[in-house]
Amino acid sequence: MTTTAQQKSLTGLNSVQIAGLVLGIGGLALVGLGASQSVKQMLQSYTFAYLFWFGLGLGCFGLLMIHHLVGGRWGFMSRRLLEAGAMTLPLMAVLFAPFVLGILTRDQNITPYKWADPTYIAGDALLEHKQPFLNVEFFLIRAAIYWIIWIGITLMLYKWSYDQDRAKPGDFAPARRMRFVSGIGMVLYVLTMTFAAIDWGMSLEPHWYSGIYGVIFMVGQGLTTLAMIVLMFALLRKTPPMNEVLLPVRIHDVGKLMFAFVILWTYMSFSQYIIQWAANLPEETPWYIARTSSGWTAVSMFLILFHFAVPFFILLSRRIKRDLSILWAIAASLLVVHLINMFWLIMPNFYPELTVHWLDIVSVVGVGGIWLALFIWLIKRRPLLPLNDDYHDPRKRAGGH
């Protein structure tokens, strides 16, 4: 399908892909080595790294469905990237295996999910109350349901998108099907992701609870996905046909969305903080105490500054939001800062003092490398822009916005 001109300019992607593959295999090998030293430590690090990268796949999935529902040209330009990102989910399902193997041991000295260990919950009234939900069997059943839904819908959207490329002009059947499934898919995504966040993140601290937790995760996924899209735009901006559509006004749209997600993240996180801080309940405050004592205070402050204040004030500028040569740097920094945010969300459960284990780093590199390699391989498999989406294609529709 790809033309020779495109092929030539895609070589830049190849080097990223190879680097990702090498780093991924190397990283995962080191993770395996780490597991031979301490399975517990390896699983802790892996949980954090996995939740970050898996969020990119799921963020692509969510934004893709939003685009099918509400349209918009920003989505036309990013659709192939979003599809490629969502198609990494089958791989992420395979990489979910350590979670399953860990929790099946039902041993709190191995799995990060302490509630899986019967000796841990014995005598704890609150945890015994949660047993109907927090038990190993139901945890695995739920995970299976999430994966079936996510991968099933992704495959449908991916297939129909291919059909649309081959459809005759004026045939709207694939577009209609994609929109229909996205409507249902969006409802399912929100529900499953909320419970996945509760299962895989919140239940690491089994006494603690927060109603907004799933939303914080979803907003984070949207933000990292948009940042990744901006990075890919920066990489592909000279490549035909992307160079025809990546005009400042379109970059501006994606920049605005990224800005909105920075604000949303702040809003959700601050809501949770002020409500729990003001109520000061014994089930809730320990979570924040752990994150505002010892070295973690510095991380909290860092996040307020660099996950909110600095990107907020930079992105207020219209000029920056329209200029890929600056915007990509902000997107890259947001990805890094959000990784730190994930570290801050997950790791204080394990490290009372702020530390970084070498396994934390190699897990991020390992899972991320593999993810990136697959993502780029998928991008190269199809034309960079949908072929028959006349309605959203700015080159085919004059005027408008």
Binding site: Y209, G214, V215, I275, A278, E283
Partner: protein
């Protein structure tokens, strides 16, 4: 009239005329306050956020929606003031230097409400007035009597229609839109914090701020549709407020409604998951206690009825859409009733449980406020251009050019 009579009674007799009691110290006044303020939000959303997203379909309904916002906020603002006990001292809520050394409690979200709502009202008013300036000028140029020319002339503030005028206007309008957008979120978030920062079972949930904001937009869009559908029919505005508008609004209503349903689900799940006995009891009491009827009515209105909006056939059926919006308005009122009353009547100690029975004046004040709202709205329709004249002209020109 009912409203005036009720307010007079209230001022003469004090808040004792309400059904409020201990433990239900907050009842109808806060329910009505939250209900009205929520309705106001759709106006700002339509005008400001859709402007920022360059959704030009908004142009024929924004003026109307903004007016609705202002009148709803006016109705909302009255309730907490009337509930103060000594409403004539309401200005004590504002932190001004005074010889009493009297300051509001800055740690209370109720004091934040004062700032949030008054800022919101001010910015909404400015936004509305700035948007009206070009139309005021048009009214001035078309007026036949000296008096009306004078009045419109003052309001138009010397608008000449020059390129510079327009350029300044665009900038000011965009900036105000940018300012209003965070206000939509902040006002209702703070309203939700009135509840959420407490330790009250059923109020204390971190999902409250986004869920309240979605609920506000939901109720607001329902109210816009409730009003627009008959007005469109009466004044024959089918060419300006098209089916596309109605459908889009119905879709927004569906989307925000689904967020609200998500809020209910998370409330219930987290209440159970927390394992805290008061929370677990609260949710059981809400679903099966003495006020269970209100909970299930709420789920029916907000959760079940709106599912019809998934289908194009129903979205384009005006009578049906109108009926759905009425259900939503009732549902959103019930939502606040459920939150306030079920939590307060049965909280921590069974010995201090109580019941709540609204009185005649609770209802008369509530329905009276609707009278106030509609009176203001009809005055607006009568005297001001309810559809943005110049924006429709621009739209018309774009359409003409493209054909």
């Amino acid at each position: 009239m009912i409203f005036l009579a009720s307010v007079t009674m209230l001022l003469m007799n004090g808040v004792g005329i309400f059904g409020n009691n201990v433990p239900v110290a907050w009842a109808f006044p806060i329910i009505n306050f939250v209900w009205w303020i929520g309705i106001g939000h759709a106006g700002t959303l339509i005008s400001a956020i859709l402007l920022l997203f360059r959704q030009e379909w908004r142009n024929s309904i924004n003026r109307f929606a903004e007016a609705m916002t202002l009148f709803a906020v006016a109705c909302a603002g009255l309730f907490p003031i009337l509930h103060l006990g000594r409403p004539w001292f309401f200005y004590w809520l504002i932190p001004y230097p005074n010889t009493y050394w009297l300051w509001p409690q800055f740690r209370s979200p109720l004091a934040w409400d004062v700032f949030a709502v008054s800022t919101y009202a001010t910015v909404s008013l400015l936004f509305w007035l700035v948007g009206l300036i070009p139309d005021f000028a048009k009214m001035r140029d078309r007026s036949t009597t000296t008096l009306s020319r004078y009045v419109w002339g003052v309001l138009a503030m010397g608008w000449t229609g020059s390129a510079r005028n327009w350029q300044r206007y665009e900038v000011a309008y965009l900036l105000l839109a940018g300012l209003s957008t965070p206000l939509v979120v902040s006002v209702h978030s703070i309203v939700s914090l009135d509840f959420a920062v407490s330790v009250m079972p059923g109020w204390h949930n971190t999902i409250f701020p986004p869920y309240f904001v979605a609920g506000a937009v939901f109720a607001g869009f329902a109210m816009v549709l409730t009003l627009v559908i008959p007005i469109r029919a009466i004044y024959k505005l089918e060419g300006i407020i098209t089916m596309q508008h109605i459908e889009n609004m119905a879709k927004v209503m569906l989307a925000t409604g689904m967020v609200v349903v998500y809020g209910y689900a998370m409330e219930a799940f987290i209440a159970w998951y927390s394992g805290v006995e008061y929370e677990v009891f609260m949710i059981a009491n809400r679903m099966f206690g003495p006020y269970a009827w209100s909970f299930w009515a709420l789920i029916f209105c907000n959760g079940v009825v709106i599912q019809l909006m998934w289908f194009k056939r129903f979205r384009t059926n005006l009578v049906l859409v109108w009926i759905v919006t009425i259900f939503v308005s009732i549902g959103m009122w019930l939502e606040r009733f459920v939150i306030v009353v079920t939590s307060l009547t049965r909280d921590f100690l069974p010995s201090s449980w109580g019941n709540f029975m609204p009185t005649f004046f609770d209802f008369s004040l509530y329905f009276g406020s609707m009278g106030l709202f509609f009176a203001l709205l009809f005055l607006f329709i009568r005297f001001l251009p309810m559809i943005n004249i110049f924006e429709v002209q621009i739209l018309q020109r774009n359409i003409d050019e493209s054909h």
